[in-house]
Point group: C2
């Protein structure tokens, strides 16, 4: 081993970034590799998708975060494989050798082997969020152009698959967009006619929370025009809607032009090249110290690791990743300083659960901490405070705080841009000056009330 | 004509939007058609391209702006042609009839007939700005990976073509990104080695301003590592750089991986379907009241119109478009109210020039108003105040004010995200733990100082 151990970290999410930060004063060289130049504050990504926040409010250049870490450098690159025998990471266009490796490349959604990603985008990165935002706000534009009531209804129907925190947060926001944000903005359609359908395979929303809180969340969703359908599985998705199989084996069809995916977990494929046992979702079965079997110099932290504590799987949440990253950094720092022999006498990782929260919408959330389960406005205030606290940097805190206060007071969303391709919208059937629809050639004109516009 | 005249406005820029707003209380129905859902505050678009502001800080949903205008509706659609004989606008997928038409579809950059758009993007919409941001920040990532000094220099060289306000503002910001924003963020390259080359065909930058101010701007650019080259024309652009022809007929070659375009004016092609005389740039030669010859019910405002006042062309700036939009709205409102017979006795449009400004960078701008020409910090404060004042809405004002203050204090830029495709970067030639470069197979390794990282 070289004099100064080289620690390579794959992934700049919560696990990888917190490991790099915790290694600041350790006598090591750190190389953090990510295919993006920014870290994302994942818990608020749904707010970018629903136009409440800007991408850069919740995304920070990794280089900026590690600017003052003189032992760290950042490489914009994608890791393709790990060669544990040769101790190197294979990139698209080169290789990087390591003394210690921390794999923190996380997980993405699982479409259960189906080719549904294009039809029902998930929410993992900024690009995903902007794509969802584009689809949601374009749906209203399409509905406004549409004259057939059934087709209009399909544009104003949004299906969200999966009722974990992300699915619940998305659904609540989708309801509020129609009921509040867009209420006054259209002339032909009533955005308040929005219909959100939240599909869940299990028997309740937010299965990780106590039952009482699930019920409170479901009630809060109901007030936002979200229809919760539990115990049903998606069997088909196409451009016109979703087919679901219910608990009794029967099937049902929902006509919806917008389907969003918040279900399943599929670990980063990088795990496969480690040559160690994986669980069904492709996550690495890590040792007590978060290293992999047979390779004490390789660690896996965050969503990519599978670990059982007190008989329960550790959940795929930020806190587990952050604590895992810090734990591993401490182990490596101690060995680099010579306080322990490499790989010997390492402390086991123990996750300290500070509690969990989910937000349903304006003034409504649920929170479950060690002793207390609360819902409603107080939980929402807690959620608010905790998320502002965990944001990185003064700038983001101020911007998010202001944006939230502004939205709360005005019922608006500040980032309602449609960017990218507009795509195919229904043809314009416009009200001409003589009160007749001006139609594309070949279609018959229908007389309409000329003053309908001036409602 | 129907009882309530139908006013169709094409384009939601300054001209179209201000016309729609000014028609709020007129007895007309207004349909504003734009291919995007948002209005852009164009003067600050370069700040999105250079990561100082977020897209939504300077872009507003047109529907929101016109939310309370009960006589107005918004249609997301692209106009393809205008049939002045039949008084209708032809869309991609339908038609809209009008009693009055206001064409405000503006202008874009002219590449003088060359196919350079992909090689040298211009700055007209949010997508353009994000593409420029992506290229600029990726260039530094590429330079950090590059080991050949000449290739590294080409990545750190930015060429801007055209030294009008946009070109100057972009150049100044590009210099500051290297000198200030990224100063501490890289390990192998010194971002302060940035080299910006501003190319201009005329004999000075900011030709529309007094000579003294041009000289002040050029000096301020020099301090930001911007090399101003006047009197030269671009003859070739490719992926490796730019070829220019100098005043004496000789040619020169600049190796640069990033070229941005801020030159030329090309009017919206929609003008051609009006069947009236156009100028060389494709702009419509409008009558004194901004209507087109032979069609008093059709107006052209903003960058798409060509009008001479006091012997000088009206410039393609926001103020001209805003004032033109308001002027036309007043004429239409008076006729709709019956105060004048349609097309009779209309007042001529007269542009009131409030002055102009351009910003070079941190604490540096120039301003030329009726009597005063100033440069430096005071002009910058003026620029700051005026732009905050003209922004639409309380939210944008607060966010932009805060972002600017934060940037001014910290020398940072808050929106430094690279989104979209990363594309091809130089291969990674990484410093392995033994102090040797780990190269892609087939390339020879070179010994390097193992502690070079810990500078």
């Amino acid at each position: 081993m070289a004099k100064t151990p080289h620690v390579v970290i794959l992934g700049g999410g919560f696990g990888g970034l917190f490991a790099a930060v915790a290694l600041r004063k350790a006598p090591v060289r750190v190389t953090l590799i990510d295919k993006r130049n920014h870290h994302i504050f994942q818990p608020l990504l749904y707010q970018v998708a629903t136009a409440a926040l800007n991408p850069s409010d919740i995304a920070y250049p990794i280089r900026s975060v590690l600017q003052d870490h003189k032992n760290a450098r950042v490489l914009l690159a994608e890791a393709r494989a790990i060669d544990t025998a040769a101790r190197k990471v294979v990139l698209d266009d080169g290789e990087v050798s390591y003394d210690y490796l921390i794999v923190a490349t996380g997980a993405t959604h699982s479409y259960f082997g189906k080719d549904w990603e294009r039809l029902a985008p998930g929410l993992k990165c900024i690009e995903d969020a902007l794509e969802i935002r584009r689809r949601v706000f374009l749906a209203y534009e399409a509905a406004e152009r549409e004259s057939d009531p059934a087709a209009q209804r399909a544009w104003l129907t949004f299906v969200v698959v999966g009722a974990g925190p992300t699915g619940v947060e998305l659904s609540g926001a989708l309801g509020e967009i129609g009921l509040q944000t867009l209420a006054q903005d259209f002339r032909r359609i009533d955005p308040g006619g929005v219909h959100v359908i939240l599909l869940e395979g299990r028997d309740r929303v937010l299965g990780g929370f106590p039952e009482k809180l699930s019920a409170a969340a479901a009630a809060a969703l109901g007030k936002r025009r979200v229809e919760v359908r539990t115990g049903c599985m998606v069997t088909e998705i196409d451009a016109d809607g979703v087919t679901v199989r219910l608990g009794d084996g029967s099937t049902d069809r929902v006509a919806a032009r917008t389907v969003l995916w918040a279900a399943g977990v599929q670990a980063s494929p990088l795990a496969r090249s480690l040559g160690v046992p994986l669980d069904r979702a492709g996550r690495v079965e890590v040792e007590a110290d978060l290293s992999i079997p047979g390779h004490p110099e390789v660690f896996v932290v965050g969503d990519l690791a599978h670990r059982v504590q007190d008989g329960k799987d550790l959940p795929g949440v930020c806190q587990v990743a952050m604590q895992g990253g810090k734990h591993v950094a401490k182990l490596i720092a101690a060995e680099a300083r010579g306080a322990r022999a490499p790989g010997q006498g390492r402390k086991a990782f123990r996750y300290f659960d500070k509690g969990s929260m989910a937000v349903i919408g304006r003034s409504s959330a649920i929170a479950s901490t060690m002793r207390v389960n609360i819902s409603g406005f107080l939980a929402w205030l807690m959620w608010w405070t905790v998320h502002i606290f965990y944001l990185i940097g003064f700038r983001s805190r101020v911007l998010v705080m202001f944006s939230w206060m502004w939205s709360w007071l005005t019922f608006r969303r500040g980032a309602r841009l449609i960017t990218g391709d507009v795509g195919a919208l229904p043809p314009v059937r416009d009200l001409g000056p003589d009160g007749r629809l001006v139609l594309p050639p070949g279609e018959a004109a229908v007389a309409l009330d000329p003053d309908a516009l001036q409602r």
